[in-house]
């Protein structure tokens, strides 16, 4: 450590002290936080106050968390300079694999979950290898994946169920499995029951808590956001992700294993989609070929609202975290207002456009383009 050196080096008469606002402007997640404040203000004014009670908050955090699991992985991939449009279809495909493992093969979760995650990661690796080998844009390669995986999910489910696109019986098959509480249901039910008995949280007339616990996906969401942020900002791998997305050649010339970084990121996004599939299938008790429909776009939108540049090399996992919460708030929040729920799409498109314009301006500031 050379604190004296670092301290005196910072003094340069040509530089004005940088105001706090200017420093904040350089954080990629600023846009998402500003957006969250705006959206919260909007719903505080227009929505039924029930939206901001504990149950209301968990109500919009659950879908936010489900999207967030995808969006955080998608953000890392985008920072690494690639897209994956197949993650929505991957949710359906991995759901089918997981359903088949649990129902048709009668595997316990301790086997079914890893099988699903590994298979998804392998497909992600194939995506990555095709992108790197051919040099084609990942946008096109994974667009093909979007259709292939969706089609395979439909065909596969019909084959597994003799003609239905739904596979039922997952709940019965997974009932009582010791791993199930990790992936479905609510956490901290004991705590919430206790709080209810003290009268500290809202209860029904019979004394049970209105909110039985925190949906586990919210915990996964928080955990993944923290982990992804740590990896990005505090590990060599994080530096490699930024470098690979910022300039592939420059990174490779400096000794960054660009190929491995990108393939690992494709595997990560596919595995994140599979994780979401496991949770959704366990919660619903069945799997459906329409699961994850258009989730790839929502995940990318959340990542972009969170400050990721479409060109790669810049962005944050925390931003994607807030982007996903904005998303959940808007989707669920509109039901608490008098507005037609279909305004949701207009709102989303508007947010996306604003975010892109804002991010573009930010990037110019950061790189000093004039």
């Amino acid at each position: 450590m050379m604190p004296t050196d670092a301290g005196s080096a910072a003094v340069d008469e040509r530089l004005k002290a940088e105001p706090l606002m200017a420093r904040l402007m350089k954080r990629p997640e600023l846009g998402a936080i500003a957006g969250l404040v705006l959206v919260t203000a909007f719903f505080l004014i227009t929505a039924n106050p029930a939206m901001f009670t504990l149950s209301g908050i968990l109500n919009f955090m659950a879908p936010a968390a489900q999207l967030g699991i995808l969006a955080i992985a998608a953000a890392l991939l985008m920072i690494g300079g690639e897209f994956d449009l197949s993650i929505g279809s991957m949710v359906a495909f991995a759901g089918m694999i997981f359903g088949a493992c649990v129902v048709n093969l009668d595997l316990p979760l301790i086997l079914a979950v890893p099988v699903t995650l590994v298979l998804a990661a392998l497909i992600g690796a194939v995506n990555g290898i095709i992108v790197l080998r051919t040099g084609l844009p990942s946008f096109i390669v994974t667009l093909a994946g979007l259709f292939i995986l969706r089609g395979l999910s439909l065909v596969g489910l019909k084959w597994l169920t003799d003609g239905s696109t739904q596979l039922r019986g997952v709940r019965e098959a997974a009932e009582g499995d010791w791993l199930a509480p990790i992936f479905s249901g609510d956490a901290f039910t004991g705590l919430f029951g206790w709080l209810a008995s003290l009268g500290w949280i809202e209860t029904f007339d019979n004394g049970t808590a209105k909110v039985p616990g925190v949906p586990v996906e919210i915990l996964w969401f928080l955990g993944l956001a923290a982990l992804a942020t740590w990896v990005l900002l505090r590990t060599p791998a994080g530096n490699w992700i930024f470098a690979s997305g910022g300039d592939r050649n420059a990174a490779a010339n400096s000794g960054v294993p660009v190929r491995n970084v990108k393939i690992a990121l494709f595997m990560l996004t596919a595995a994140a989609a599979a994780l979401l599939a496991v949770m959704q299938v366990l919660d619903a008790g069945s799997t459906d070929a329409r699961r994850g429909f258009q989730k790839e776009f929502e995940a990318i939108i959340a990542a972009v609202i969170g400050g990721c540049l479409l060109t790669g090399g810049y962005g944050s996992a925390i931003g994607a975290f807030f982007g996903s919460i904005i998303f959940g708030m808007v989707v669920i929040g509109l039901t608490y207002t008098g507005f037609d729920q279909d305004w949701f799409q207009v709102f989303l498109g508007g947010m996306l456009l604003l975010a892109v314009i804002f991010n573009n301006a930010i990037r110019k500031r950061v790189t000093g383009e004039r």
């Binding site: 450590m1 050379m2 604190p3 050196d5 670092a6 005196s8 080096a9 910072a10 003094v11 340069d12 530089l15 940088e18 740590w230 900002l233 505090r234 590990t235 060599p236 994080g238 530096n239 490699w240 930024f242 470098a243 910022g246 300039d247 050649n249 420059a250 990174a251 010339n253 400096s254 000794g255 960054v256 540049l309 090399g313 810049y314 990037r363 950061v366 790189t367 000093g368 383009e369």
Partner: protein
């Protein structure tokens, strides 16, 4: 340029060369890219390789930095015969190349660029992490040594001027133990002030005992900082001149192959 005398110093004629390349030839199929190149670098000198476009400068750099294997000829490194299997080998031996694209990422901070691919870590196992504080402190002090006061280690490279970026790239190579530093046209895209900053950086690096290979087609920049000069023309070196024994006009003529430029110069009134 007034810098002419400032940048020159000391006499390095006595030291043994770090790397010596003798009669290097490189053929690509039936194309002879290099047909007899001899070049050496001593510690603490700046040896300029001058050549016009197409003279074979890029092929030469790539042979020296281990990207290409010479078809014929010998390379001696620290007195031992040597052939690099890959650019990595050359880098580990201490031959660093700063290419024109600089291998810098504008959106990333100076500190992150400085340690890109070679991040210092602390902790072990799952807690092994990028030692950001160490990276920041080293970056600030290394840049200060090169005469650049950063606003902070998190300043994005994109906000630096072209000359400053060049200096970051050079500082990075030197910090990671370069004994020979190959600079590919470091001043070609820079303005006057930026150029003199980069030349000053070269002088600093040379003073630390690094052998600098300065590749350029700009005779004025080369004369400002070089200790020795070798001209590459049509894949051949035409001998090496020591500073003081050659004028920029002579170098200019050698680069262009003599005749044509002399004629051109007379029609342009001697301004080339």
């Amino acid at each position: 340029m007034a810098t002419d005398s400032t940048f020159h110093h000391g006499d390095t004629k006595t030291a043994a060369p770090i790397i010596e390349m003798r009669d290097i030839e490189k053929h690509f199929g039936n194309v002879i890219a290099l047909s007899g190149v001899s070049f050496d670098v001593r510690p603490g000198e700046c040896h300029c390789l001058l050549g016009d476009n197409g003279a074979g400068k890029s092929t030469f750099i790539k042979t020296m930095s281990g990207v290409f294997k010479p078809t014929r000829g010998s390379i001696t490194f620290d007195g031992k015969p040597l052939s690099f299997a890959s650019p990595r080998d050359a880098m580990e031996a201490g031959i660093a190349t700063v290419f024109q694209d600089l291998a810098m990422i504008p959106l990333m901070s100076v500190a992150r660029n400085f340690f890109m691919g070679r991040e210092p870590t602390k902790g072990w196992g799952p807690t092994k992490r990028f030692d950001v504080e160490k990276a920041n402190a080293i970056t600030m002090s290394e840049m200060k040594k090169m005469g650049i006061n950063l606003r902070g280690p998190d300043q994005a490279v994109g906000t630096l001027s072209g000359g400053e970026r060049q200096t970051v790239a050079i500082a990075r190579a030197v910090y990671f133990g370069a004994k020979v530093l190959i600079l590919d046209e470091p001043t070609s895209a820079l303005g006057v002030r930026q150029t003199s900053n980069v030349l000053a950086t070269i002088d600093r690096v040379r003073a630390q005992g690094v052998g600098v290979v300065f590749i350029s087609h700009n005779v004025r920049h080369a004369m400002a900082v070089g200790d020795r000069f070798t001209v590459l023309n049509r894949g051949k070196t035409l001998g090496t001149a020591v500073r003081g024994n050659i004028t920029s006009e002579q170098l200019q003529d050698l680069m262009a192959g003599g005749q044509e430029l002399a004629q051109l110069e007379s029609t342009l009134g001697g301004t080339v």
